[in-house]
Subunit: 336 residues, 2 copies
Amino acid sequence: MSAFSELRRSALNAVLSVVVALLLAPSAHAQNDPLPSWNDTAPKAAILSFVEKVTKQGSPEFVPEPERIAVFDNDGTLWVEQPMYTQLAFALDRVKTLAPQHPEWKDVQPFKAALEGDIKTLAASGEKGLLEIILVTHTGMTTSEFEKVVTDWLSTARDPKFKRPYTELVYQPMVELLSYLRANGFKTIIVSGGGVEFVRPWAEKVYGVPPEQVIGSSIKTQFKMQDDTPTLYRLPEINFIDDKAGKPVGINQEIGRRPIAAFGNSDGDLEMLQWTTMAGAPARLGMLVHHTDTEREYAYDRDTEFGRLDKALDAAPIAGWTVIDMKADWKQIFKD
Amino acid sequence: MSAFSELRRSALNAVLSVVVALLLAPSAHAQNDPLPSWNDTAPKAAILSFVEKVTKQGSPEFVPEPERIAVFDNDGTLWVEQPMYTQLAFALDRVKTLAPQHPEWKDVQPFKAALEGDIKTLAASGEKGLLEIILVTHTGMTTSEFEKVVTDWLSTARDPKFKRPYTELVYQPMVELLSYLRANGFKTIIVSGGGVEFVRPWAEKVYGVPPEQVIGSSIKTQFKMQDDTPTLYRLPEINFIDDKAGKPVGINQEIGRRPIAAFGNSDGDLEMLQWTTMAGAPARLGMLVHHTDTEREYAYDRDTEFGRLDKALDAAPIAGWTVIDMKADWKQIFKD
């Protein structure tokens, strides 16, 4: 090889190195801290180590991309659930909106309590009372009409404590986690006890989760042709409750694969975490968000009406689930 | 600009053209005939024209990738459904397998008919009789156990006419269509009247459709911890019938978006095609596979027990759905 061609080759190699470095730079940089709102404590380490293990080709714990399913509870895991589930706030506002068409509600429980904002009486009406309110406020219209009602409400409603739209009260560390998992070939699935059609209209914009990756509770719908237009009409009847032992059922029904990672925050997520992590396979990740931050959000666990964390908190150390201490482990709760 | 730099630029352009041509060549070639098992008749033209319209950036009918949902019936649309639905053949074989544990079946209908292969009496037992057979043969085990039973059966069972495994009796033109749509950014979803857990175990391998993109009829399951192992147990109770008006309901429940293309072959697909194509949007594709080929497969429509095509065939010209004439439009039915 001549000195000239040698020189030319070196020059070419140098150029190529720069090009390669430039091409790799943004991704290398992003890999430096894919979870900037997480403190460098145990939960962050557990996430990073798990993702490394299951994505590393040739590792004994490698999981092929199509099987990388991660499931997330919504209320209290991805967004705020106090002082009451957002969907309940929506339902109570709907009662007020619909009240003029129902003058009888002024004297009938649980509607009287809903109209008067009497949460104590409302809570005392129990599951039956709440169900009655949900059915009256969530049905009797087409699916498209309901989507519009939800979207309109979210655009104006404000959280009572933070005075911000509910869709801004999503946990920034969890939003980063969703992105990080997707960047590593995971499908991120929401498995909510809340209504699937209450979450779908905004999940894609806020979480990057498309409608087909949202599982939730649902009411029955009926196909109807209305003047040559096909519609799905929402009937006042529960179809499926996607909570507790219902969560693995919903996951199997709609996904048909067992997840390899599950994130929850309450006893409603216990069975989902069991289903995900206790299958005998090597690498599985179970995590619980523990609300410990009175100042920046709320602190609650065993004694709360919404998002009780009791049995699952006891199960965590035995099952090897990581408990996220919001106060200690999260640098930031919400996006500024 | 000097004559030399002009010349250099032309030379560079020439090189670039060759590089670009080489880079594009394989894809251009594939685009030449993405549907080689289809004859050059109207249905193929309709598919190609539809895909071009919805994928062409800037076209008034452009559809963003996440909204490119195509739904496919399974029995009779993607694979053979005569002389009876494959899942029914499976159920009848299961009755024979389970018979030793049920000596009483020898004298009780519809089991007696099933054991004797007396299809006429079996059919006469109606929906109630068939349901009884489905529940007995499809439940009373975990979801994992059922998956194994299905997989084992498919590996040995042979179709009575073609003497081939059922999973080889999938329509090659439709397999090409599934791939072609996916290559153009579509999600291809199976929406089967058959059991979702009967289709999922093989849909990925045979159709390239992952479990989470299979919707179907289902039976109820129950979450149970068995010696520290979480399982889903199949109960003898129907959960959902994904047929006729149930198909749009199932699509909305699991996908949450309205499809832009739908493929079926029977009256069971009528509402799915209506839901897909009659939404008032510009570009929608509805297609019906019409079984017209006695020689290479079967010919049937209005008068058949399995896959009756009657109302939907009448609706097609009015709704603008394309009818695929298997004999005339398909070069090949199965893979050799």
